[in-house]
Every structure is written in structure tokens, then in C-alpha cells.
């Protein structure tokens, strides 16, 4: 195994060497970095050309110049890596390290949402194979496969951003929207749950009417103007979360798990006010990891109290429930920040921006304002990217789960008399996750590559923009810096995916 990994790593470096050499030379002959200066009439053009030639070694032919660049890169082995300078006499490493957080913010959120939603949808459609819902989702995912992202982005900017902003500045739900949303929710739940005709209709009526009443209450109580959850809703939502997580994780009949999860739900309102105090200390970052640790520690302790044997599933259930309730508390804090944020001059009741990655007019200093600002700027690009990548996960997880459900061990599990929940969650879902994990690993590595088109449409300055800029201004060192990072991560992620695959699925051997 060790020999195999070493061999793969060795090959990885040879490949990176070869492809970077070829790309360097291709990029070098693709344009003249001095072209703008040659035709420039500025008095110091000649001077600038000389400076640029000297700093970028432009007098050396590209195949040899490559080795100067490589020498800087190979400095990684002596602890001092040098990516070279950009045209503007700035270290490439600086530009890249400024772009990485932006790119991660842009792509990571979308990838996460797409994975979560995509896998859920894939599983639901596989379990309801050949139902109307399945056909509908198949159509939707193929439609999303076929969408050019810049086209979606322009549509989102034009319709979603403006409509949503109009709604948020005067938040009342009009009767048309109320009826439309209620019917949509009714159709969705009826399709997902399905069953006999009578059951479908009753689900439709129940879902539609509860959605309608819910929206109406929110509208009447002016919740959209002063959003927030408060301890009562957190308790209610927490109990719901506790039951749902227990059902998925261990089954409701597992009493210790249910009890531990319900205690977690009860803790939500108890810790509500203390947590508000910690939040209001304006996000001294040290307190967040501490809060997370305390939450998990408490969940584990409670599970130890309720379960004497076989603690694993109980701990899992309690920790999942506690994390979701923690997220609810953070969401509540963001909601409380919403109104003051809207009222600032920088936002002025138009909260959903269509361009740029942050509001430069917003006064710095308030941690929650800054965080909320980042979130609203992520809104449109995240939706656009999610729409595009969601379809792939849905199709893939649906296909894999259907494959798994046809396996003999699923029939065996059913024949043993296991409940459907156990068969699906423990026998089918886990095996579905094996090929999915490897895909997810490669995709997460691809996050750093950025999204050239999305960044351009929404005016973000991340890795994609950097690459585009390097290409159009013939900034060789910058181009190679971006390329080296993204391609290294791609090849490395493929290696990790192969290893992970064989670790998760003992039928597959690497090396040999």
C-alpha cells in the first residue's frame, strides 16, 4: 500500500512537470506581454519595457525561462516556495491567497447545498421510481444539465433579485402568491409522499392549507419585517428535528436515542438567552469553536446517561440533533440582525445585490452585519451554481441507489424481515455513498479552480477572474500559479478518491 501511494505520488509529480512545461510554452507563445507598451506613446514606455523584461526574464526563450520558474516552485522542498511576480510587480502568491477565500466562499456554499439537495432528491426519486414525481425530477434535472450558467445568472439577476428586493422592502404576501405557493407546496408533498389516491389528496390538502395558513400568519404578524425565531419556535422546531433525526438515524422505537434527542431539543430554549449574550460580544472568534465543543460534549454526555450499551447510534443521533439546533440558534441571530442591516444607509432596503462580493459602503466593525452582508452577496451566485451542479448529483445518486437496490444483499436484508428504514438507510444508503464519496472528493478539490463564468457574471474576484485576467494580459507567472494549484489539487484528489474507494469498498483493491 505504502509503495503504491509513493509510486502514484511520483507519477503525479512527473505529470505535473510535463503538463506545466507544455502549458508554460503554449501560454508564452500565445501572446506578447509587451504588446501594449510597444504601441504606447507614453514617454517612459521604453523604460517600462526594460523593467518588465528584466523582472520577468522576457529576454530568455520560454523553454529555458520555464526552469527559472520551476526553480522557484521547487523551493517548496526547502520551505520557501516562490511563484514569481505578476506584471504589476506583486508576488503571485499574494494575489492567489487573496483570491482563494473569495472563491471558496463562492463555490463551497453552492457545492455543499448541491450535494445535500442532490443526494436527497436522488434518493427520493429512486425510492419513487417511475412515479410522476420521478419523471418530473428527471425532466428538471435534465433541464438543469442543459442550462448555460451565464444565461441562468442573467435571468436570476433580472427576475429573482428584483422581485425579491421589492418583496423584502414591502413584505406582504399578496393573495396570488399565497394561493400559488400553497398549491405548489401541496403538489410537492403529495408527490414526494405518494400512496393511494385518497391519501395523495389528503396530503395535498393538508400541505397546501398548512402552508397557506403559515404564510398568512407570518404576513399578519409582520414577521417578514421583524424576522426571528425566539425560544418558543426553537423548542417546537427542535422537537420536530429530534423526531426526524431519530427516525432516520435509529428509528423512533429506539427509546434511548429518542430521549437523548428530545433532551437536546429541550435544551434549545434553555440556552437561548445565554447564547444571545455570547453572540452579542460581537463574535470574538474564540467563542465559536468553544460553543461547538460544548454542544458536542453535552450531546455525548447526555447519550452516555441514556444509553448503557451500544452507545454509538445514540451519540450520533444526539450530536446531529444538537448541531441542527445550534444552527437554528445562529439562523435566529441572523434574523434578528436583518432589520438593522436593512436600515443601514449602505443597504437602504435593497438587500439582494446583483454584483460584487461585498458591500463596500457598509461600515466595518459589526461582526454580524459583515457576516450577513457576505451571505446576501452569496445568495444569487450560490443559487446559480447550485442549479447547475444539483442535477449531476441527483442523477448519479438515483442511478447508484437503483443499482444497489437490485443487489442480492438487499433482498437478503428484506428477507430477514428488517424494517424498510433499516434496509434503505443502513444497507442501501451506505453502499450508495461509496461511489458518491469519490465523486464528492474530486468536486471539492475542484472548488479552488473557481468558476470563471459565474465570477465574471456576478463581478467577484476569485481564482477564475485571476486566471482570466492572467490570460488576457499575458501574465505568465500568474497563469502558471493558478494552473499549478488547481491541477495539483485535481490530480491529488483523484489519488485520494482511488484510495478512499478501496478503503470504503473492500472488494476493490488498489496497487496489486
Amino acid at each position: 500500500m505504502f509503495a503504491y501511494i509513493m509510486r502514484r505520488l511520483g507519477v503525479l509529480f512527473v505529470i505535473l512537470f510535463g503538463s506545466s512545461f507544455i502549458l508554460y510554452n503554449l501560454a508564452a507563445i500565445s501572446g506578447d506581454p509587451l504588446e501594449a507598451l510597444r504601441t504606447s506613446s507614453a514617454p517612459n514606455a521604453k523604460q517600462q519595457m526594460l523593467v518588465l523584461t528584466r523582472s520577468l526574464h522576457l529576454n530568455i526563450p520560454p523553454p529555458i525561462r520555464y526552469f527559472i520558474w520551476l526553480k522557484g516552485i521547487l523551493g517548496v522542498f526547502i520551505g520557501h516556495i516562490d511563484f514569481g511576480m505578476t506584471r504589476n510587480a506583486q508576488p503571485v502568491a499574494t494575489s492567489i491567497s487573496a483570491a482563494i477565500p473569495v472563491t471558496i466562499r463562492l463555490v463551497a456554499g453552492a457545492t455543499f447545498v448541491a450535494i445535500l439537495l442532490g443526494i436527497t432528491m436522488g434518493i427520493v426519486t429512486a425510492l419513487r421510481q417511475y412515479s410522476r414525481f420521478d419523471y418530473f425530477m428527471t425532466f428538471v434535472s435534465f433541464l438543469m444539465f442543459s442550462l448555460p450558467i451565464f444565461w441562468v445568472a442573467v435571468l436570476l439577476k433580472q427576475y429573482l433579485a428584483i422581485t425579491f428586493n421589492n418583496f423584502l422592502s414591502h413584505p406582504t404576501v399578496t393573495p396570488g402568491w399565497l394561493i400559488g405557493l400553497s398549491i405548489a407546496s401541496g403538489i410537492f408533498w403529495a408527490a414526494v409522499i405518494s400512496g393511494s389516491r385518497k391519501r395523495v389528496w389528503s396530503i395535498f390538502v393538508a400541505a397546501a392549507s398548512s402552508t397557506g395558513i403559515f404564510l398568512e400568519i407570518l404576513s399578519i404578524t409582520k414577521w417578514f419585517i421583524h424576522p426571528g425565531l425566539g425560544p418558543v419556535i426553537i423548542l417546537g422546531a427542535g422537537i420536530g428535528v429530534a423526531f426526524a433525526i431519530t427516525q432516520l438515524s435509529t428509528g423512533i422505537s429506539h427509546r434511548p436515542a429518542l430521549k437523548a434527542a428530545l433532551v437536546m431539543a429541550a435544551m434549545g430554549p434553555v440556552v437561548y438567552y445565554p447564547v444571545q449574550y455570547i453572540f452579542n460580544t460581537n463574535g470574538r472568534l474564540i467563542s465559536f469553536p468553544l460553543l461547538v465543543l460544548v454542544t458536542i460534549g453535552f450531546a455525548v454526555a447526555i447519550s452516555f446517561y441514556f444509553a448503557k450499551i451500544d452507545r454509538g447510534p445514540v451519540i450520533r443521533t444526539a450530536v446531529l440533533t444538537a448541531s441542527l439546533i445550534g444552527i437554528l440558534l445562529i439562523v435566529d441571530k441572523f434574523m434578528q440582525t436583518w432589520r438593522p442591516y436593512m436600515e443601514t444607509d449602505a443597504v437602504n432596503y435593497r438587500p439582494i445585490p446583483t454584483v460584487s462580493q461585498a458591500n463596500s459602503l457598509l461600515a466595518p466593525g459589526n461582526y454580524w452585519f459583515t457576516a450577513l452582508d457576505i451571505l446576501v452577496h452569496m445568495f444569487l451566485p450560490t443559487i446559480a451554481l447550485t442549479l447547475i451542479s444539483f442535477a449531476g448529483y441527483t442523477r448519479y445518486s438515483r442511478g447508484t441507489l437503483l443499482d444497489v437496490l437490485n443487489q442480492d444483499y438487499i433482498r437478503t436484508a428484506r428477507a430477514k424481515g428488517l424494517t424498510e428504514r433499516t434496509v434503505i438507510m443502513r444497507h442501501a444508503f451506505r453502499n450508495t455513498m461509496i461511489p458518491l464519496t469519490t465523486i464528492i472528493v474530486v468536486d471539492i478539490a475542484g472548488i479552488i479552480g473557481g468558476a470563471i463564468i459565474t465570477e465574471r457574471v456576478f463581478g467577484w474576484v476569485g481564482m477564475g477572474t485571476l486566471f482570466n485576467q492572467a490570460l488576457t494580459s499575458f501574465d505568465l507567472n500568474l497563469l502558471m500559479g493558478v494552473f499549478l494549484l488547481t491541477s495539483f489539487l485535481t490530480v491529488f484528489a483523484n489519488l485520494v478518491a482511488d484510495l478512499l474507494y478501496s478503503a470504503l469498498d473492500p472488494r476493490i483493491r488498489v496497487g496489486g
Binding site: I15, L23, P148, F150, V154, V491
Partner: protein, 359 residues
């Protein structure tokens, strides 16, 4: 059992099984696949739609291929400069579309194309002609990329999978090497320098970099097929490597290849539009759908049709190709189809009949 008696069979509801049973009745592999494909209504519809679009789009404008001249049925070409129309346009815009699909009894005017059904661009060129040309480009690029990637990917994957050993190692490392160079990057680098060599060249080099996934798939398929008994039997009977590859393994791997090429083609159409959008693909004065969208995205608020029509064509073409790919996957690889759903299991017809019938 013929078609007629099958229709009266109480178990005909189990259409998957009735087809599976027909397999034992002397149908060839091709016939089985064709039948399964035809049962996939969305795929057949898409195939029909795509075919119609291709005929519609390519017959609209004049074509000159070497000595062959074809006169298109549409009155304008992409270079004509008719007068810019601004009568009856909303919001004082210019060159609005004259296409009217609302019948007379609703809005008083009849259904009709008018002079410029999709409107006109900034300088008055007919937008219908531009969209037709753009769609021609996109379809052409899609097929060229598909064919080149299919040939290279199949050859490399087949050789690597069949011969294994050092041939496999070298070819797969070469594939890894190509994978590290993302096609959008190489497209931009070359496109920046040679972009005006035309759309054929663009498609050609994009094809040269899109075969990697396919070659891995084909290799995997060959690795498993070459261990099967029928290959051993062929070898014992004295078949050459060439015969084994072409007559015994390739026909069994063709499903994987076709399905993956279809999906690659729908990706290719989006790749071309994305590159053209970034300015590294098709370059003006040539026209492509991606280029049209990027040229007029700022005009969206005042003249949305300049944005809608090319986008809708991209989506319809890509959607059709995706559905055809799905139908082919179902036809070649029925593993995901045959599962009995709960509803099927609880139907009146007992399952034992199934088993009895297939005997």
C-alpha cells in the same frame, strides 16, 4: 408468442418482464436495444425533435460546401443589412420581433411570422438568420467534438484495457496528463492565439481534449470483458487479437461508449457556448449561440428577445441530447429498470405466473 397474444396476456402489465422474456425468443441484441429505446417515450420524442431542429436549422440559410451550393428557404442571410424596424415596439426599443403566435380572436392580429420573427440586432441584421447560423455552429461543434472524442477515447481505452501491462500504464498516465490540463484552459490559451481559425478548428481541438473520461470507462469495460469465457473461447478457437477486439469485445462495450458519448456531446454544446461567452471560442464576425448571448446580455432589460431566442435553442438542443442519452442508457443497461416496485409487488397478478410464463 406474437404481439397479439401478448396484449391479452394477464401479465402484460409487467412490460419489463415481457421484454426480458422476449429475449429468449431469438431476438438479436440490436433488436432488443431498439425495442427498449422505442419504449422510452421522452427519448424517442427528443430524437424526433432534434432531427427536426437539425433539418430546420440547416435548411434555413444558404450553404456552400466546396462545389455544392444550397439556397436556404429563409429570405435573409447573416450578412444582409435590412432597414431597422422600430414600429410598434415596446418601450421605444428597436428591432423587436414580429413573430405572433397569439391567434386572431384574442388580440385581433393573426398568427404570422412577419418580416423579422426574432427581431433585429443593433445594426439591423435579421436575428432569425443569426440564431439559425449560431445553432448550426453549435450542432456542428457538438458532433465534431463527439466524434473525435469517441474515436480517441475508444481507441486509447480499448488498447489500454486489452493489452494491460506497460501499454496500459503509459496510456493511462498520458490520460492523467491530459486531464490535468482542463479543456477550458487549453481552449482559452489556444483560442486566444488561433481563435479566428474558425469553428471547425475550435471543435477539433476541443475534441482532442474531451476524450479522457470516455477512455477510462472503455478501459474498465475492456478489462472486465477480456476475462470473460467467450473471449477465452474465441482465443482457443485461434482468433487473432484484432478479431477478438472488434468482433467479441467491442460489440459488448458499445453501449457504454454510445451512452457516454451522448452525454459528452450535450456537455460539448455548453462548453462551446461558455468559451464563446468568455471570448475564447467562436469569434466575431462568425456567430454562435453563446456569442449572441454574451453580446446582448446588457440589452436584456430593453430588448429581452436578443437574449431569449439563442438561449432557448441551446437549452432545447442540449435537453434533447440528454434525453436521448438517457433512453440509450436504459436500452443498453437495463439493470436499473427491472426492479419491482412495491405497487407491482402488491398487484393482483401473482408473481409465480411470471416464472411459469418464461419457461
Amino acid at each position: 408468442m406474437g404481439k397479439k397474444s401478448n396484449a391479452m396476456d394477464p401479465t402484460a402489465d409487467f412490460s419489463d418482464h415481457s421484454i426480458a422474456n422476449l429475449e429468449t425468443k431469438g431476438l438479436s441484441q440490436g433488436q432488443i436495444v431498439r425495442r427498449r429505446f422505442i419504449r422510452h417515450r421522452a427519448a424517442v420524442g427528443s430524437l424526433f425533435l432534434l432531427g427536426s431542429i437539425i433539418i430546420f436549422v440547416f435548411s434555413a440559410l444558404n450553404l456552400h460546401i466546396l462545389f455544392f451550393h444550397y439556397h436556404g428557404w429563409w429570405k435573409y442571410s447573416t450578412t444582409d443589412l435590412p432597414e431597422l424596424m422600430y414600429k410598434n415596439c415596446p418601450n421605444d426599443s428597436i428591432g423587436c420581433p414580429t413573430l405572433d403566435v397569439i391567434p386572431k380572436f384574442i388580440d385581433g392580429t393573426g398568427v404570422g411570422l412577419g418580416a423579422h420573427p426574432f427581431g433585429q440586432d443593433d445594426i439591423g441584421r435579421d436575428y432569425f438568420a443569426l440564431v439559425m447560423r449560431g445553432a448550426q455552429r453549435s450542432i456542428l461543434v457538438m458532433f465534431i467534438i463527439g466524434i473525435i472524442a469517441a474515436v480517441i477515447g475508444t481507441v486509447i481505452g480499448a488498447i489500454a484495457g486489452f493489452f494491460r501491462g506497460w501499454v496500459d500504464a503509459v496510456l493511462m498516465r498520458f490520460t492523467d496528463f491530459i486531464i490535468t490540463i482542463p479543456s477550458i484552459i487549453i481552449g482559452s490559451v489556444i483560442g486566444f492565439h488561433f481563435g479566428n481559425l474558425g469553428v471547425m478548428f475550435l471543435a477539433f481541438y476541443l475534441g482532442m481534449f474531451s476524450w479522457t473520461g470516455l477512455s477510462r470507462l472503455v478501459r474498465g469495460e475492456f478489462l472486465s470483458l477480456r476475462e470473460r469465457e467467450f473471449v477465452d473461447a474465441a482465443r482457443v478457437a485461434g482468433a487473432s487479437n484484432r478479431r477478438i477486439i472488434f468482433k467479441h469485445i467491442l460489440p459488448n462495450a458499445v453501449g457504454v461508449i454510445i451512452v457516454s458519448v451522448t452525454l459528452l456531446m450535450s456537455g460539448a454544446i455548453l462548453l462551446e457556448t461558455a468559451l464563446s461567452y468568455l471570448g475564447f471560442g467562436v469569434i466575431p464576425p462568425d456567430v454562435s449561440l453563446g456569442l449572441l448571448i454574451s453580446q446582448y446580455q446588457d440589452a436584456f432589460t430593453t430588448r429581452p428577445w436578443l437574449f431569449w431566442y439563442p438561449g432557448i435553442f441551446i437549452i432545447i438542443i442540449a435537453l434533447c441530447v440528454n434525453f436521448i442519452g438517457d433512453g440509450l442508457r436504459d436500452a443498453f443497461d437495463p439493470r436499473q429498470r427491472a426492479r419491482l416496485t412495491k405497487r407491482m409487488r402488491t398487484r393482483k397478478v401473482p408473481l409465480e405466473n411470471q416464472g411459469a410464463k418464461s419457461e
